[in-house]
């Protein structure tokens, strides 16, 4: 029996063995399901798969058709408008609300609950609620008209040009409370002494916020940004519940295009091409940012 046991120092591979074993399932999930699924999708986006995936490659045909489709172009435009405005408004409004909350006001708990409450509702419920509120026959328009302004018109969901802003209102109503809470937590993390110092120096409050507090809250802002951004890219259920893409195709979004073409049109290739384009868009935004954020850390 030559089964000699290795008695030297344990190799690097075996250090923290139990934690490495414990992380195997997650590593496998990430590699096989996330990475594998992504690669598979990208590969099959170059095929003419219909209802069932088939490895019949047709080059860039699916992408040509995608970028020729008026509905896809409309979806991209809508996502851009919705995305930029959501980002700006939810950060600005969320921060303003958080700053107000931070003034040691009375009933802070109550207000916090009220502002955060919409977040407890799903996008489907939010969409339906706002569909009713914005309906010209039951909602805001009819209320204002019944108060005497007979010619008042406010029906964003039935006007192709502004329907995406109707969706935006619902999205902001739902999401701003969470942004407020995250930023409020960030504000609470700022040392009281900073405030005292700035007061001693006679710096006005808004300047303190803008030039001292906000830069100090950078990590919180980044977390918030990631949460908002991921919510924007995947927006689907809100549109389905509120407008189902209408009137016509004027409130379509990319995620809905992917679903509709994969399952309703039974054209997997087209759906894969669209989802690959979504991935590329996200990568274009994330990669430079990640490079700046993590790549530049070499300097001490």
């Amino acid at each position: 029996m030559k089964g000699q046991v290795h008695t030297g120092r344990p190799s690097k591979l075996l250090r923290n063995l139990s934690s490495k074993i414990a992380s195997i399932p997650m590593v496998l999930t990430a590699v096989v399901i996330f990475l594998g699924g992504t690669v598979w999708t990208v590969v099959y986006s170059f095929t003419n798969s219909k209802l069932l995936p088939r490895a019949n490659f047709v080059g860039l045909d699916q992408y040509e058709r995608l970028w020729d489709a008026p509905r896809w172009i409309m979806s991209i435009q809508n996502l851009a408008i919705y995305g930029v405005l959501t980002l700006i408004f939810s950060l600005v409004m969320g921060f303003l609300l958080a700053a107000l909350m931070d003034q040691k006001i009375r009933f802070e708990n109550t207000f916090r609950t009220i502002f955060l409450y919409p977040f407890a509702l799903s996008f489907i419920v939010t969409g339906l609620v706002w569909q009713w509120i914005l309906n010209p026959e039951f909602g805001v328009q009819s209320v204002v008209r019944s108060l005497g302004w007979e010619t008042f018109a406010f029906d964003p969901l039935y006007n192709s040009d502004i329907v995406i802003y109707g969706v935006l209102i619902a999205g902001l109503w739902q999401g701003t409370g969470l942004v407020m809470c995250l930023l409020l937590a960030g504000l609470r993390g700022i040392d009281e002494d900073i405030w005292k110092a700035s007061r001693v120096d006679g710096i006005p409050m808004w300047k303190t916020y803008l030039f001292i507090i906000i830069p100090m809250m950078r990590p919180v802002f980044i977390t918030t940004l990631v949460i908002i951004a991921s919510g924007i890219v995947k927006v689907y259920d809100l549109v389905v519940a509120q407008t189902s893409g209408g009137p016509g195709i004027s409130s379509e979004v990319p995620a809905k295009y992917v679903y509709d073409y994969m399952f309703q049109a039974q054209n997997l290739g087209q759906g894969f091409a669209a989802s690959t384009m979504m991935l590329v868009t996200v990568a274009i935004i994330i990669v430079p940012w990640a490079y700046l954020e993590f790549g530049g850390r070499k300097r001490v």
């Binding site: 209802l51 399952f263 309703q264 049109a265 039974q266």
Partner: protein, 411 residues
């Protein structure tokens, strides 16, 4: 072999006590969930239970667009139901080609479906490479213009007899504060209304040239331009319909808020449910009163391949139950659709259904777009027409150009 039979015996000892309690359970999925539809499907369940088996109802809420992806993913994912509804035509084509659906040719020849199913085109839609894969259960036709007699009375004009009179009556209706044509916001309604105009105003030959032969030149030609002109009229007349679902739009006609609606014969169930009488409260114009041709789209049941022999046998029983005369009559009367057999008696049918039966008997039928175009082309068409109907600045010429492109790339 030995092991397998042993295993089967072992399994049998486990299953037997249950099998004695009730016979084979078959799960049947479908998307018939509205009041009238559920009542209709209950007739099938009753007929199948009477054969000593058990119908396990797998209704999936939401329309076909929601239900079909669920059905397809169950079949492709290896968890097939025993039978499932599809619209016959090309929706299940690839599932059949992939060998996931059961060949019913034996049952069909035994029961002589070729002779009893009328019109014959229905069975053709179930046939792929000479084998029969589905049981058609009803005929639904899209080609109806439903009119509210009350709305026309209120506007002081006679109830139109055809599409041109209807368009001419539009301004009078608008003056009376009535939306002339109700078109709901869902994409399939706009696309369907256009196809109806195409068949009624373009005629059967042109309809086939475009949708069956996929002739893009005809689709871009002057005759189809007339259809787009009519679609432009329809768009103008439909301004002010602020509803989404088809039954909400039908409800506008029922309550006299709208003059008419282009919708399939399933709208009839809504009129019946509201207690309206055909001819008195509402009128119906098959083929828009221009071209009395109806299409033979509809529903069919497909049977996924199952390993369980008992269940496979029960599938055959179910297939012949669905097509049996008694089940056909009971089901179709509740559903408001026409039966797939020419040899059954529908004495209880109302005026509009009788008009439909007449046209069917004369053989003025076409295959519907579901049977001719793939789901992919249908979706592209829906995108185009929902945009066209919602966006008044899109010219008929632009729309026709895009339509011709879709036809050119259709397969």
């Amino acid at each position: 072999m030995k092991i397998r039979s042993l295993a089967a015996m072992l399994a049998a000892t486990v299953i037997l006590p249950f099998a004695a309690a009730h016979a084979t359970d078959l799960e049947v999925t479908h998307w018939w969930t509205s009041g009238g539809e559920a009542a209709a499907v209950a007739e099938f369940a009753k007929a199948f239970d009477a054969t000593g088996n058990k119908w396990v109802d797998g209704a999936i809420a939401g329309a076909g667009g929601t239900a079909r992806p669920i059905m397809v993913s169950r079949i492709t994912g290896g968890d097939p139901m025993a039978a499932t509804q599809f619209n016959h035509g090309r929706q299940a084509e690839e599932l059949v080609e992939a060998g996931l659906m059961r060949d019913l040719t034996d049952v069909a020849t035994r029961e002589n479906w070729k002779d009893i199913i009328k019109p014959a085109g229905l069975l053709d839609s179930c046939t792929i490479d000479g084998k029969i894969y589905c049981v058609p259960v009803n005929i639904h036709s899209w080609q109806w213009l439903w009119l509210s007699n009350g709305a026309f009375e209120a506007a002081g004009v006679a109830v139109p007899k055809n599409w041109d009179e209807f368009v001419a009556a539009g301004p009078a209706l608008e003056k009376a504060g009535i939306v002339p044509l109700a078109v709901g916001g869902q994409a399939w309604q706009a696309a369907g209304a256009f196809d109806v105009l195409m068949l009624a105003l373009g005629g059967k030959d042109r309809f086939y040239k475009v949708y069956k032969d996929k002739d893009a030149e005809v689709a871009a030609g002057a005759d189809v331009a007339k259809v787009f002109k009519a679609a432009d009229d329809a768009r103008r007349l439909s301004k002010g319909t602020n509803v989404q679902d088809w039954n909400q739009a039908t409800n506008m006609v029922i309550t006299g808020k709208a003059g008419g609606q282009i919708m399939g014969d399933w709208a009839q169930g809504e009129f019946a449910l509201a207690g309206k009488v055909a001819g008195k409260d509402y009128s119906c114009l098959p083929g828009l009163g221009v071209n009395e041709v109806i299409a033979t789209g509809g529903d069919a049941f497909y049977f996924p391949v199952l390993e369980d022999e008992e269940k496979s046998k029960a599938q055959e029983v179910l297939a012949s139950t669905l097509i049996s005369p008694t089940a056909q009559v009971a089901f179709n009367l509740k559903k408001g659709s026409l039966p797939v057999r020419g040899d059954v008696d529908l004495a209880a049918a109302n005026d509009c259904m009788k008009k439909g039966l007449d046209i069917l008997a004369k053989g003025n039928v076409v295959e519907w777009v579901d049977q001719l175009l793939s789901a992919d082309s249908q979706k592209q068409k829906e995108d185009l027409f929902s945009e066209f109907f919602a966006n008044a600045s899109m010219t008929p010429e632009d729309a026709q150009k895009r339509f011709a492109d879709i036809i050119a790339s259709a397969d």
